[in-house]
Amino acid sequence: MTDDRKDAAALAAGIETVPELLAHALRIEEDAEERYLALADQMETHHNAAIARLFRWFAGHEAEHAREIRERMAGMALPEIKPWDFHWGDAESPESVDFTAVRYTMDTRAALGLALEAEARALAFFQRIVEVARDPEMRRWAEEFAAEEAEHVRLVRAEIAKLPPDDGQAVERAEDPDPPNEPL
């Protein structure tokens, strides 16, 4: 990771209550779903149907996670937090794929690679809270979320393992046969 989300886990230490943690966990999943949907739209607009399907599949998963969190916290009042007051610093919530990391020519390996990075960031985020949480209930929640994210990381890795071996030609395949300024 090269963006400043490397500081996100450290910032997670600013979360002090269970409702705050749940608000963050829910926002992580909602943001991730929204981002995957947006990326799927981008890929559809740019006629990369395979990756659009993949992103949409991930969006469905994130939606499911968000639904589960909402169910489990039924009745609990969450704090209203402005987008810029979440404890992941200046960048984004950890599980959102960076908009600027995608390309319309990207292949499955590249897309899964981005998903893996996103899941790993979410895992690191919750692991850090497990480390620093003083409230045992908050630690228990964070452990649960971390375990889920670890499972996601494992699943994505498994998907990557199913791909044909990397032939090293991805960059060449990503070359744009319809460049924007075709020289005459």
């Binding site: 963006d3 890929m43 987008p83 979440f86 984004e92 600027t100 995608v102 924007p180």
Partner: protein, 277 residues
């Protein structure tokens, strides 16, 4: 802009069904996200917001929102927005532009919008290139940048929008980076809430024509000092910084332009009397 307490709105309530035509990887997706998050946080109903733009990649943004929008001609968005805001002071008016639209063809309007200090917010998504016309140098492009239109570079000095804004009288000046959408949302929110003309330069990388701008996300850093209310100090800081200081750089308190008399309107016959012999 007034803070609207209820009902609660989500960022997605401010997005339209229209799918952006921007390239995957474009920084402008982040700016759209910042805009919708900012509006959701403010609670302003979408129908009370007008998003005004000109021409270029960035200027496609109004139709991607669920607000009222105007996608006008190249370079004239600030003028159109000025007329709208003066006629309809109840609206929250945002102008979304790019470096070509805002600083080149629209440069004169930029100066006078700063001077006039109408209560609008001007967000320029600066990628230092004309993207829609496929990669020509813009006013903020480095002089050495090689392109078909300017082989070997333009050789001319880049425009300094933040300093120009300060010199021209903008009441709020900030720099943001699209890759930090929450911070950008915060800055735009503050810009909207600040009275008068607020200018936010959002560095927004062009994945297609300026792929080297991917390095911006490692170069940006929070401005090391608090915003000042002294334009000269702010200008000096901006002129001597590395170009990657992010944050609010200047907050002023100039009076906001308001041409309304506030008096009870007279009937037309009162005007006719001056012609009678």
């Amino acid at each position: 802009m007034n803070e609207h307490p209820a009902p609660k709105r989500k960022a997605s309530d401010y997005k339209s069904e229209v799918k952006p035509v921007w390239c995957p990887g474009c920084g402008d997706y982040h700016v759209l996200l910042s805009l919708t998050r900012m509006l959701a946080a403010s609670g302003t109903p979408p129908e009370q917001v007008a998003v005004i733009s000109g021409i270029g990649c960035s200027s496609r943004i109004p139709a991607y929102t669920n607000c009222y929008g105007f996608h006008g001609v190249h370079g004239r968005s600030l003028a159109l927005a000025a007329g709208l805001k003066v006629a309809r002071p109840d609206l929250t008016v945002l102008v979304m532009s790019g470096d070509g639209d805002g600083f080149s063809i629209g440069g004169n309007h930029f100066l006078h919008a700063c001077r006039r200090n109408i209560d609008i917010t001007y967000v320029v998504m600066d990628n230092q290139v004309y993207g829609m016309t496929k990669g020509q140098p813009s006013p903020t492009t480095d002089p050495e940048w090689d392109s078909a239109l300017a082989p070997g570079g333009t050789g001319i000095r880049p425009f300094q929008p933040l300093v120009i804004a300060l010199a021209s009288g903008a009441n709020f000046v900030a720099r943001a980076f699209s890759g930090q959408p929450n911070e950008t949302a915060r800055i735009i929110h503050e810009a909207v809430m600040h009275p008068g003309f607020s200018f936010v330069q959002v560095m927004s990388p062009c994945v297609t024509f300026r792929p080297e701008q991917a390095a911006w996300k490692d170069a940006v850093h929070p401005a090391p000092v608090e915003a000042t209310d002294d334009p000269a100090r702010a200008a000096r800081r901006i002129m001597t910084d590395d170009g990657f200081n992010i944050g609010v750089l200047y907050r002023g308190d100039r009076p906001v332009f308001d041409p309304h008399s506030g008096a009870e309107p007279v009937p037309l016959s009162a005007l006719e009397r001056s012609f009678a012999l």
